[in-house]
């Protein structure tokens, strides 16, 4: 988490970026992609160990 916050801070300190809201669309998209690498690292850590069994056992009956 801390690393991702740093990524955000450093990009908002750059001179050509005024505000996150005002950032050009392509830049916002690039920024989100850069953050994605950190997120994928975290997901690798937290994703259920046995994905196949987890998905197979997830059964829900009797819903609206």
């Amino acid at each position: 988490m801390a690393e991702r916050e740093q990524v955000r801070k450093s990009s908002s300190n750059r001179e050509d970026v005024v505000e996150e809201e005002a950032a050009p669309s392509t830049e916002r998209s690039e920024q989100l992609k850069a953050e994605l690498d950190d997120i994928l690292d975290e997901i690798d850590e937290v994703l259920e160990d046995n994905a196949e069994e987890f998905v197979r056992n997830y059964v829900q009956k009797g819903g609206q």
Binding site: S25, E35, L36, L40, I43, V46, L47, V55, Y58, K61
Partner: protein, 497 residues
């Protein structure tokens, strides 16, 4: 003028016992809810007297055909924030209190998540080591079983239901481009995951009719359950079963807000010149869901083909004009209306341009970006169970396991506000009266439901206090009285009931 759009969300959570995959879901749901309410000091039962889920808004009644079981032995409680927490079918369900605005309804939906998190923590202490109850805020088990996240909106009874249906269906079929929760693969018979790697909606695979009363089979885009829970001469409660359960605060807020705006336009006769009628709403719902590139067009009755974004744009343009003519006070505050219109416009523009720009805003885009990123990093093919696992775990309610919580999503709420809403009712609807009575006089309340409270004063017969108007019983009406009275008997006497 449109009537105030009192609204709320009811969510059925998916449930499993980690470490005991064969656990009975009804027992598990009961245990989860009991784990929450037994930790509270008092508990008040739900009263079913005014419920009639078999009554149809089209004007006829079904006898015993609704598929709804009002099973009073299941766990069922009212909370001090005005919500209802109970076991419905085989799921734990949280129904938010009646709210005055989309942002307030978002707050109470999120309070429901917090309640479920606390319930899971309490239940874990009761289970053998290595087992825990895990709730998922999603709508599908990826094996063809779906469960709902239903929205409710107060609608003017004088508007013919057929008009509501006609003008609402194109909006409902296309709103998933904004508020879908995303799903890896498809559960539609004959549509294999190799054809649909990812789709916008959790629910679109499960809808078979345009209009109808059912909720568990042959699900309709517009549900006709006519159970106003209020004065049925003046009000209708539109019960919307189409939507996905959202985790993104923006998605939930937009789902409620945009739908409320469209309903207000219908009440004001403002969509009569929209001229958008889908040739086949049910097929269109799926075709749009199955195309995350958002370029799929759907056929209109007049022969034109439009994309979902073009149809949404038409509703947005009407909404901007409607706001100029009528204002947006029906949304319950000054800020939701302008903010919703601005966000609707921003999002349609971004979806048209590059939807990935909204990976920090919308559920389906956030999930899709993770799925694509994971696929690229690990070379996973479309059948890889790890992609399905990501789909499910996005919705895991355990903070330490939730994938959603790992994403840098934009927030609309502060955590402190959510914590307050776990125990305190919204001040602007009758939920204030329900929740506050429950907090102050739990020992004197025999039962409660949406439109009444039954007091047990110990001496008299039980006393029912009706609450037929969702906009009465607010803090403004009864706050001073509720703070002043010393007992439930004094309260009932002061109310003159």
């Amino acid at each position: 003028m449109s009537i105030p759009k009192v609204l709320g969300i009811e969510t059925e959570y998916g449930i499993v016992v980690a470490g005991a995959p064969d656990a009975n879901p009804i027992t598990t749901s009961s245990m989860l809810i009991n784990a929450y309410i037994s930790a509270l000091s008092e508990r008040v039962e739900w009263d079913f007297v005014d419920e009639s889920p078999g009554v149809d808004a089209r004007g006829f009644s079904l006898e015993g055909g609704s598929g709804i079981e009002l099973d009073t032995h299941l766990v069922n409680a009212v909370l001090t924030n005005g919500a209802r927490l109970y076991v419905d079918h085989a799921h734990p369900e949280y129904s938010s209190p009646e709210c005055i605005s989309p942002s307030q309804a978002l707050l109470y939906d999120k309070a429901g998540e917090e309640i479920v998190i606390r319930a899971m923590m309490n239940a874990k202490r009761l289970l053998p080591k290595g087992q825990e109850i895990v709730a998922y805020k999603n709508n599908s088990d990826r094996k063809g079983n779906s469960y709902g996240c239903h929205e409710n909106y107060l609608v003017d009874r004088s508007i013919p239901f057929q008009k509501v249906v006609a003008e609402l269906v194109p909006f409902f079929v296309t709103r998933q481009v904004i508020i879908g929760a995303g799903k890896v693969g498809s559960e539609f018979p004959g549509k294999s995951a190799s054809k649909v790697l990812f789709q916008l909606s959790q629910r679109a695979d499960f809808f078979e009719e345009e209009v109808g009363l059912e909720t568990t089979l042959k699900r309709p885009i517009i549900n006709t359950r006519d159970e106003p829970h209020s004065d049925g001469q003046r009000f209708r409660r539109l019960h919307v079963i189409l939507g996905d359960a959202n985790l993104s605060e923006t998605s939930t807020w937009l789902k409620l807000g945009l739908t409320a705006i469209v309903l207000a336009m219908i009440e004001d006769g403002f969509l009569e010149d929209l001229k958008i009628e889908l040739a086949d709403p049910v097929s269109s719902l799926r075709e749009i869901s199955w195309d995350p590139s958002l370029t799929q067009t759907v056929l209109l009755r007049d022969g034109r083909r439009l994309t979902a974004l073009e149809i949404q744009q038409a509703y947005l343009e009407h909404a901007i004009e409607h706001a100029e003519h009528y204002g947006m006070s029906y949304l319950g505050n000054d800020f939701d209306g302008p903010a919703l219109l601005a966000e609707w416009e921003r999002i349609l523009g971004a979806l048209e341009d590059d939807s990935m720009r909204l990976a920090d805003t919308l559920d389906w885009v956030a999930k899709w970006q993770v799925v694509q990123g994971y696929q690229q990093r690990h070379g996973a093919d479309s059948q890889d169970p790890r992609l399905a696992a990501i789909d499910l775990q996005y919705h895991d309610m355990r903070p330490q396991k939730s994938l959603f919580r790992r994403l840098p999503m934009r927030r609309r709420l502060e955590d402190m506000t959510i914590t307050t809403a776990v125990t305190n009712p919204p001040p602007d609807t009758r939920a204030y009266f329900r929740g506050t009575c429950l907090a102050r006089f739990p020992g004197s309340i025999a039962a409660a439901n949406w439109d009444s409270i039954i007091f047990d004063l110990g001496t008299d017969p039980l006393r029912r206090v009706p609450m037929m108007d969702p906009l009465r019983g607010t803090e403004g009406h009864v706050g001073e009285l509720l703070r002043r009275v010393k007992s439930a008997a004094e309260l009932v006497e002061a109310l003159g009931s």
